[in-house]
Symmetry: C2
Subunit: 260 residues, 2 copies
């Protein structure tokens, strides 16, 4: 298919590469910042533009991969062409673009993307939603050319997924950062924790997190938890994080036992 | 070396297997529960005992891998033999066993172990501490037979490491569990999040967590955070976790910018 991408950020970059690798033709890359558009366009053999009015009409699909609050404005401008148009946002419902164009859909890759790191797109869950059965079918076919984990997810479910992804990705990463700072303050190398972080994530690839919870809280080891809070004595915010998550572990442990 | 292991839990199990694979002879496995001792002893070709007084004196090293609050009592009983004796606890200082035996040390594998999952012990950071230079040297040589990541870590540093490990492992796992429950309540499959969880951990294997933080908090995207808090409306505890960790991300982002 002939695909144009609106945006040049992390999602735009990884999607553009995946489409190109799958044999699609990337037509235009749009960014209000021409340099950004040009950089990505160069990598995928596309044309760079910084005015939406310059977009090539010979495009089959417009992929809107911009900040959430810019999606609707872009969709409104693209409605003029009445082409298949998708956004890629977990937190934005279909309606916000569907109201401008009946050929609308969502193409939400559930992964954390950085420009500096390649991702095997085949493994990325790709959550699609179409305005109707025909659009959904088209999106499914397109999605299956770049991922072997394509799921139909409606707007309400997608919002839950997006929220859950914050708990499963953004918050754990912040906890890694807290751990790294604790180590740095005591001249300890973050490399000491890297295997532990990886193993913790690998463990839940085949098990449920509740079944592999370890640590002082799940053992209800009050002595260790008190010692840890004491070590955090100079940092009330970290103490609060420690207490709240320990309580959360204890509570889940009790609920899990009650279920058995 | 001839090694006897006190304990039959996760750490005891993985250490015993690693020692055996490295060519050491496991002599005795002790557990107050004979069945537990026998099960592990069978796997590593050792003798099972449930009375410490039955332990074979022809042992070079006693490895105490029991709950933290049982370590000192065991060390006191083993002091009779005056053999090289180590505990494996992150949260317990050397002094608590050194006071009974000058040939004491610590052998702390910084990893999360479950009996159901194999671990490549060569990759496990093994934190050692000896009562003196001679003991340290002996422990280092022993440690290097099972891990290629051996580090000398004193008791104060080890306590920080243990605390940091709670932030890097136990708390992220609880957040995975929260995410899984959010999905389950909306008939969504946890498989949708597994690639994201793994990628988040893989990202920090070569980068620092602060440099790869993503999500609404680091973008200061108040609209999305408000929507998420609204979705959590029926659960004040999860709202509190969401707010606290979002604040933590925002604060770290501001500090990181100020450093640049």
């Amino acid at each position: 298919m002939r695909i144009s991408i609106i945006g040049s950020g992390n999602v735009a970059t990884h999607l553009a590469a995946a489409f190109k690798n799958a044999g699609h033709k990337i037509i235009d890359i749009y960014s209000p910042n021409y340099q950004n558009a040009a950089l990505l366009a160069y990598h995928v053999g596309a044309n760079a533009i910084n005015k939406l009015s310059e977009i090539d009409r010979q495009t089959d699909v417009f992929v809107i991969a911009v900040k959430d609050d810019a999606i609707e404005g872009i969709a409104q401008q693209l409605a003029f062409y009445q082409k298949l148009t998708v956004h890629t946002s977990g937190a934005t419902d279909l309606q916000s673009i569907l109201k401008y164009n009946s050929l609308s859909g969502v193409f939400y890759p559930l992964q954390t993307f950085s420009k500096i790191k390649e991702v095997d797109f085949w493994q990325v869950p790709l959550c699609i939603e179409g305005a109707d059965a025909a659009v959904t079918k088209q999106l499914e076919q397109l999605a299956q050319t770049i991922s072997n984990n394509v799921q139909q997810i409606n707007s309400d479910q997608r919002k839950i997924l997006h929220l859950a992804a914050v708990f499963a990705c953004n918050f754990p990463n912040n906890l890694y950062a807290i751990a790294q700072q604790l180590l740095a303050r005591h001249q300890l190398d973050f490399n000491l924790l890297r295997p532990l972080i990886l193993e913790t994530a690998q463990k839940v690839q085949e098990r449920f997190p509740l079944d592999v919870q370890t640590g002082p809280a799940i053992r209800n080891d009050g002595q260790t938890m008190a010692a840890h809070l004491n070590l955090l004595g100079d940092n009330p915010q970290l103490q609060q994080v420690y207490e709240l998550l320990s309580q959360s572990i204890i509570k889940m442990g009790i609920e899990a036992k009650a279920d058995k």
